[in-house]
């Protein structure tokens, strides 16, 4: 549960942001990373941006998450 997800800041007002990862959008806060700007890529964990991240690294993590999700779905099918 310590996995943070890379996402792009697509809306930002004060410390309230809307972030986008792989087309999914949700609300997050930038309280722990006050210097971020609109359009920045960040790691989100439990609703908070905890670090900035570069494009290449973000893409690799998205891929990894997609694979894990795929895998979990397959597993659910296997285990009933």
């Amino acid at each position: 549960m310590c996995l943070a997800i890379p996402a792009r800041i697509v809306e930002l007002e004060g410390d309230k942001a809307v972030v986008d990862a792989m087309g999914n959008r949700w609300k997050a806060k930038t309280t722990l990373l006050p210097e971020v700007k609109l359009g920045d890529l960040v790691l989100i964990h439990a609703g908070f941006a905890i670090s900035t991240i570069d494009e290449e690294e973000a893409k690799k993590t998205w891929q990894l998450i997609a694979e894990i999700n795929d895998f979990n779905e397959t597993q659910n099918k296997i285990s009933g």
């Binding site: 549960m1 943070a4 949700w26 806060k29 309280t31 670090s51 894990i68 296997i78």
Partner: protein, 358 residues
């Protein structure tokens, strides 16, 4: 990419041959455990290199007494329990939050902010946030407590089950067993605490600590770096995850944690009581402390199910060595938290041994 993998694999092989004895590396983090199994990393390692899954899944290390306290609070009709989904199936003495869902108000939230919002939306209920997690998760809880304080959301409180990674690692190398040669350190916990936090383990306990991300290549390169250090007899602090992990970490997050919490001695499943390893809410915010609000004292309980999660979490046994593994304890009928949690070592072994012999 293949080049990098080959290079790292060669480094591991050369180092392990030079060492010529059994080497045990503990991957501290549950997300590493999953990635290692999913990518078959164990199958490409030399025979004398063994990976041990450590206490890095917050769900797995939560003591049963914590779950029992949660269940006890859940019986209170005026309460709403707000919890991360991960905790919902963990068994306590009298069932789990999942089994309670029919009789009690249990809501799954994705963040502490959602829990706080739940309190604002339900002023006639006391919302109790089940706050588990390591340093990655703690800042979110701290911000919610500060906001509740600032906005006087008096019907919000937190049952802190937050834990610190480094004291547990120290406990593992100082008492329980000395068969851990090195640590592969968690990526996203280190984003917050910074890799300098492992300094003491490297310098005082002589164990290499290497921080790695979650991709297979980063894990393999992390292991290669550890093997190289062990073979050269030079222990050092290293991060192969420099894209996001710095030496100091996120200092703003650290300050916010410090403002709301202080380290206290606390219980871990399997590891027992560890000095200054859990976080308790500071007096300044005591009104948001569920322990105080419900007058709960923390006492450890004996687990009588026969589950050996404790030994699994310390790297003393592999899950299949547990008598219940694959028999009464399976993914569909989990008995202990290491099988319940998707990041638990028992769950990872169970899922992957369906496909291959790890």
């Amino acid at each position: 990419m293949l080049d990098r993998i080959n290079k790292a694999q060669n480094m591991i092989e050369t180092a392990c041959k030079k060492l010529g004895k059994q080497i045990n590396i503990m991957e501290v983090c549950g997300t590493h455990t999953v990635s290692i199994f999913r990518n078959g990393i164990r199958t490409i390692l030399p025979d004398n290199l063994k990976l041990l899954s450590g206490p890095g899944c917050p769900v797995c290390v939560t003591d049963q007494s914590y779950i029992d306290n949660v269940l006890q609070i859940a019986d209170n009709k005026d309460c709403l329990i707000a919890t991360y989904g991960d905790m919902i199936r963990v068994p306590g003495k009298g069932g789990s939050l999942e089994t309670k869902q029919t009789t009690a108000n249990v809501k799954i939230v994705l963040s502490s902010e959602d829990a706080l919002q739940l309190a604002k939306d339900n002023p006639d209920k006391t919302v109790v946030f089940i706050a588990v997690g390591f340093e990655t998760t703690t800042p979110a809880t701290a911000v919610a407590i500060k906001e509740a304080h600032a906005d006087s959301v008096d019907n919000f409180c937190v049952l802190s089950g937050h834990k610190l990674v480094v004291p547990a690692m120290k406990a593992l190398v100082s008492t329980k067993n000395d068969h851990i040669d090195a640590f592969l350190c968690p990526g996203h916990v280190s984003v917050i605490i910074g890799y300098n936090s492992y300094k003491e383990i490297v310098e005082d306990y002589g164990r290499p600590c290497v921080v790695a991300g979650f991709e297979p290549i980063q894990i393999i390169e992390g292991l290669a770096e550890i093997c190289r250090q062990l073979a050269d007899g030079k222990t050092k602090l290293e991060s192969v995850y420099s894209a996001v992990v710095t030496a100091e970490g996120n200092t703003i997050a650290q300050k916010i944690i410090e403002e709301c919490f202080e380290p206290a001695d606390g219980y871990w499943r399997g590891l027992g009581e560890i000095e200054k390893s859990t976080l308790k809410i500071k007096d300044k915010y005591s009104k948001f402390d569920a322990l105080k609000r419900f007058d709960i004292t923390e006492t450890p309980v004996e687990d009588t199910s026969g589950c050996q999660c404790g030994e699994v979490l310390c790297g003393l046994i592999d899950p299949p060595q547990c008598k219940l593994f694959g028999k009464t304890c399976t993914i569909n009928t989990p008995i202990g938290p290491c099988m319940v949690s998707s990041e638990g070592a028992c769950a990872a072994w169970y899922k992957y041994s369906l496909k291959e012999k790890p």
